[in-house]
Symmetry: C2
Subunit: 141 residues, 2 copies
DNA sequence: ATGCCGGTTGGACCATGGTCCAGGGTCAAG
DNA sequence: CTTGACCCTGGACCATGGTCCAACCGGCAT
């Protein structure tokens, strides 16, 4: 009972058919049962898996990490610490990227604030900055 | 005076030779003069261009945007407003991404704080969250 | 003249996460 | 019986910013 064909699974999960086949190739979904004609047959646990993967992606996990999380979930010996470790690494990673990106934003904002707009490009402080910067370089932004 | 071969330009700019040729193919660098043997010959303005591109990249501009900035810099009719517009768009873009990423970090942090570690994965709140989440979905994270 | 470094080309390949296509088979409705 | 919607496969293709490769040529030192 409750068997879907690929299109139905895809629609239920809000992804494309090709995405389902891609996940299968990537080892995120099991090889499904088939009808006599070769059609893939899925059930509710497959839908749940696809939903899990999508949720993980929304939290910034890669497909590879989603696969690790699925493997941990399926294990009966693993402890939650393993999941926590992955999560903590992801948090650190997010913080590094937040720092880099906010530094960039701050620098752009400084430059934008200095730029009067109504001058020829030759007087644009943004271009001047990009042009001059390397004379004293090799520090990170 | 001051002509470099590609390897010298690459070393001076701190990039690979292939990167120089790649920039040429992408239209970021002019087609350089050649020696009789077909070797590319560069000068200080080419080095300065590569440095400009690298600086732009460090500020989060794509190569495509770097090309636009170079075109503006070379124009004698453009005004600084055009550069400012690109920069402001980049700032907005950075802010959107900062918001998304910090929302993700916050959610991960909440989940990590709830996770005791020393329990079987079946009791891991992170996995539970990923498993359950889609029952009430379709809002952005 | 021999070795070696560095130059040339076109094209393949990397990661990431898919998307699309051709050329065929299947299935239910009209 | 035909039409249309769906499914199958293998492989190409997308963006991004390069990197690496083979197979060849140039130029300098020993």
């Amino acid at each position: 009972m409750g068997n879907f064909k690929i299109g139905e699974l895809a629609a239920a999960a809000g992804v494309g058919r090709d995405t389902i086949r891609y996940y299968e190739r990537m080892g995120l979904l099991r090889e499904p049962a088939r009808t006599a004609a070769g059609y893939r047959l899925y059930d509710a646990t497959d839908l749940e898996r696809v939903n899990f993967i999508r949720s993980a992606q929304e939290l910034g996990f890669t497909l590879d990490q989603a696969r690790q999380l699925l493997a941990l979930r399926a294990s009966d010996t693993a402890h939650a610490q393993a999941v926590l470790d992955i999560t903590l690494a992801k948090i650190t990673d997010a913080e590094v990227r937040l720092k880099r990106l906010s530094d960039i934003r701050d620098m752009l904002r400084l430059l934008a604030d200095e730029c009067p707009g109504e001058v020829p490009v030759s007087d644009c402080p943004i271009l001047t900055f990009l042009t001059e910067r390397r004379r004293s370089d090799h520090r990170k932004i």
